[in-house]
């Protein structure tokens, strides 16, 4: 159980406080409700590039990292298709430094040309390092546009192409900031050995004066239902054939999400899972296979990805996966098997509560999804899933016409 208190400033900033007396550290997690899905199709990769620029100095503080390091702190951030999340940890006695830093960059960035120029290059190198110069690195650049034709999930957080990053201008940066980086578009979680009254005082002091920004009504075009199977075959200089199958599924907000997440666990979580035993061990068709949900906030994807054993054809691989999925639709999950994945889920939650930063991020995401209190209801929701719900979701999701398949072949 994660205890917390919640309040909101007049400018709309939501603040959540979680007290954990066991640690000498505190953390501040600030989630901005903006992700790659909010980008202009001609300027993809911008949310992520922007995350880099948030470290390039703010209006009153020329360097973000130095003062934080000076007080023994450390920070990082990540961007997904849905959100951009910034977090720092520091000794609790220096908590105010975190408020000072985070409030200044919410107030305004320095918008330096030099920082933009450098971070453009850094992100381009990141593009190369993680997507282009890695075996199978471009999978998501291929899979997303196949699965999504309309919704902005059709591009990856890194962007559609390098040129979009190369062309980013300082005015674009400013507009993006004005639109999304305002208190009413953010959720702040402070965790550690802290008192809510003190957090309230600091929040009023540092974040209170920041003006409210525009109301952003997100109005993304929904992805129309997929009506026929899609596939793409590519050849690359990789040693092993691989297959990727992406099925449309519900969103993170939907009550069905929990059953779908458990389906992925039944199929591939751990060495006792079905695909591990059947496809890797018994049939020896794959050297590696996994099934997972992306956890997208809009209607998302259920993905199966596997590397084929030498000599196995794509058809065999495809068919073997289909058989496993068909079993999910036609046979009820055995009681023991369902209990097993639920137990695992429950234990993971307990282990996840060891780390304050992890707790803080979960609180922020839950608040964005509707209510911070959801962090404490997650386990119950998983425990309530029935074998019937699992079959029902499996039959909705695992249809050929709902699937995009990428055949990633080794150029031999």
């Amino acid at each position: 159980m994660i205890q917390y208190e919640k309040f909101q400033l007049e400018n709309g900033l939501k603040v959540i406080v979680h007290k954990d007396k066991a640690t000498p550290l505190a953390c501040i997690n600030i989630l901005y409700n903006v992700g790659a899905r909010d980008e202009d199709p001609e300027q993809t990769g911008f949310a992520h590039l922007f995350e880099h620029l948030m470290f390039g100095g703010s209006v009153n503080i020329p360097n973000y990292d130095e003062p934080l390091q000076m007080v023994g702190g450390e920070n990082n951030a990540f961007t997904t298709n849905d959100i951009t999340n910034y977090y720092l940890t520091l000794p609790v006695s220096n908590l105010e430094t975190g408020f000072w830093l985070e409030s200044d960059r919410m107030l305004s960035l320095a918008f330096s040309e030099k920082s933009l120029e450098v971070q453009r290059n850094v992100v381009i190198e990141e593009f190369k390092q993680r997507y282009l110069n890695q075996p199978y690195g471009d999978v998501w650049l291929l899979l997303r546009p196949m699965a999504y034709k309309v919704h902005s999930y059709k591009w990856d957080t890194i962007g559609k192409e390098i040129s979009h990053i190369e062309n980013a201008k300082i005015d674009d940066v400013k507009n993006f900031f004005k639109k999304f980086y305002c208190p009413n578009n953010a959720i702040m979680v402070v965790a550690g050995n802290v008192e809510t009254s003190e957090v309230k005082r600091l929040a009023e002091k540092w974040f209170g004066p920041i003006p409210k920004g525009p109301d952003n009504k997100r109005n993304l075009q929904p992805e129309p239902e997929q009506t026929e199977a899609r596939s793409l075959t590519v050849e690359r200089d990789v040693p092993v054939d691989a297959i990727y199958k992406a099925y449309h599924m519900c969103s993170r907000y939907d009550k069905e999400y929990y059953a779908v997440d458990l389906i992925s666990d039944i199929l591939s979580r751990g060495n006792s899972s079905r695909m591990h035993n059947s496809l890797i061990k018994e049939k020896m068709l794959f050297s590696d296979i996994s099934a997972y949900v992306l956890g997208d906030f809009d209607k998302g994807l259920f993905v199966i990805s596997g590397k084929l054993t030498q000599g196995v054809t794509m058809e065999q691989a495809d068919q073997a996966i289909d058989e496993e999925l068909k079993r999910m639709i036609t046979e009820p999950v055995a009681a023991d098997e369902l209990t097993k994945v639920k137990n695992k889920m429950e234990a993971s939650h307990v282990f996840g509560e060891v780390d304050i930063l992890n707790k803080a991020t979960n609180l922020a995401v839950s608040e964005l999804l509707g209510d911070a209190g959801m962090v404490n209801q997650e386990v119950e929701k998983y425990l309530a899933v029935t074998d019937k719900q699992i079959m029902e979701q499996a039959s909705i999701i695992f249809r050929k016409e709902n699937c995009s398949t990428l055949y990633y072949k080794s150029k031999k």
């Binding site: 023994g72 220096n94 190369k128 590397k307």
Partner: protein, 428 residues
């Protein structure tokens, strides 16, 4: 409303003292030592069985890692699927791993399920049988992963660099080759298992909610004389042979980025200069604000990341700089790395930068000593070297007191360009 000065950093404290919960020591009936960090608020426990069964101890490539990962692939009474089911059913996690100097088997479990999960680990540790069929599958799949990883410039660089530092015959330097997957067989595994996974070669580290019941459960299952195993034959390891050819290129025609590794053999944690060089390394490439990051990423934008580190091993150590850079800027990046090295030899680190590094290192230390699992990892880091908790006191004292001129002297002693091995994988 309070008038606030946004230009000025609010008053802050420097870290004065770091409280660390120390590990307590007990022995099982058979004298296996059990070290415990009793901390945290959840009813969870991590039990790590640590064996001196790492790369250093193996007689051939793949032996240590294959034995370790095959432990859970079958015992005389349970097959791989049954083992996995038994662990997963209780929401527990079984983790195995091999490093240079040791191998481990770790159980993460809720305390309430310990009596159900620990017996499975007992079988895995004491009664692994290495079924041939499972071994064939394992090796085939491992080889595929190996082939995939060998396409990554960073992986090639990391492996090749160890070879250059320690020599191709030294246990820290030996790199796995294609053919090794054909050579290793079941009897190699059984030999290594019998002589290494046994009570007198084992230490146990507990972290989390350590109750008397936990000790009793462990002693019941692991305190007996039924897992003495085979005596370990002493083997001399090949001597270290650092390359004399200090500039090396592994050419990759289609590379978009080149992986760079620069470094040299160094000492381990037991050396007097270890802590001082840790401070020097932090200034140079050990954190986000380091000289290398500030220059090569944040000023030039040549890379997504660059860093350096000092690696301590039981029988040696090394220093390394690591990055991946666009092939078009590879030689410029190399120049800048050496410029930064030279700058530390010539000019003293400024007072403000040094204070920042001190505070940052103390903050990092605090983060790394937070929570039961982190505390156990810290302890493990001294246990293997026979060091005590005063090691950390000395670390903190060094971080707080080392002077700019001492750092410059150290740079002159150790950061000599001519002593460095330079490896590029890709193009330059």
């Amino acid at each position: 409303m309070e008038i606030i000065d946004r230009k000025k950093i609010p008053a802050f404290n420097t870290i004065d003292k770091i409280e660390m919960i120390h590990a307590s020591e007990r022995r099982l009936r058979n004298n296996v030592p059990v070290y415990a960090i009793n901390a945290g608020t959840q009813d969870i426990i991590k039990i790590e069985f640590l064996f001196s069964a790492g790369m250093y101890q193996q007689k051939m490539p793949l032996q240590a890692t294959t034995v370790n990962s095959m432990l859970e692939e079958g015992t005389s009474t349970m097959n791989a699927a049954q083992i996995a089911d038994a662990v997963d059913f209780y929401g527990a996690f079984l983790e195995v791993g091999v490093e240079q100097d040791n191998a481990s088997v770790i159980l993460y479990t809720l305390n309430k399920h310990l009596r159900s999960t620990l017996p499975v680990i007992e079988q895995v540790i004491k009664d692994a049988v290495f079924p041939q069929q499972e071994l064939d599958i394992h090796l085939q799949n491992k080889k595929q992963k190996f082939l995939v990883n060998n396409q990554k410039v960073a992986t090639i660089a990391r492996k090749r660099f160890s070879e250059l530092v320690f020599g191709e015959k030294h246990p820290y330097g030996i790199d796995v080759k294609d053919k090794d997957f054909e050579i290793i067989n079941r009897s190699h595994l059984v030999d290594f298992y019998r002589s290494h996974y046994r009570s007198s070669n084992c230490k146990i580290i507990l972290a989390g909610k350590v109750t008397e019941d936990v000790y009793t459960a462990i002693d019941d299952l692991f305190g007996g004389n039924d897992w003495n195993g085979d005596q370990l034959a002493k083997v001399g390891s090949a001597p270290m042979q650092t390359t004399t050819d200090k500039q090396q290129l592994v050419f990759k025609e289609d590379a978009l980025q080149s992986a760079i590794r620069i470094g040299k053999p160094m000492f381990n944690k037991t050396h007097d200069d270890y802590h001082p060089v840790q401070v020097l390394n932090t200034v140079f490439g050990g954190y986000f604000g380091s000289r290398l990051m500030s220059n090569i990423r944040e000023d030039k934008g040549y890379t997504y990341g660059i860093g350096s580190g000092l690696v301590s091993l039981k029988h040696g150590g090394y220093f390394f700089i690591s990055t991946e850079v666009g092939v078009d800027v590879c030689s410029k990046a190399l120049d800048e790395i050496y410029i930064e090295m030279e700058r530390l030899r010539e000019t003293e680190v400024g007072a403000e930068e040094l204070e920042l590094v001190r505070n940052y290192m103390l903050g990092t230390f605090m983060r790394n000593a937070d929570g039961p699992f982190a505390l156990a990892d810290r302890f493990k880091g001294i246990l293997e070297y026979g060091l005590g908790y005063d090691y950390f006191d000395r670390y903190i004292a060094t971080v707080k007191s080392i002077s700019a001129s001492q750092l410059r002297d150290l740079a002159n002693k150790y950061f000599d360009k001519d002593s460095m091995i330079e490896l590029v994988v890709g193009k330059k």
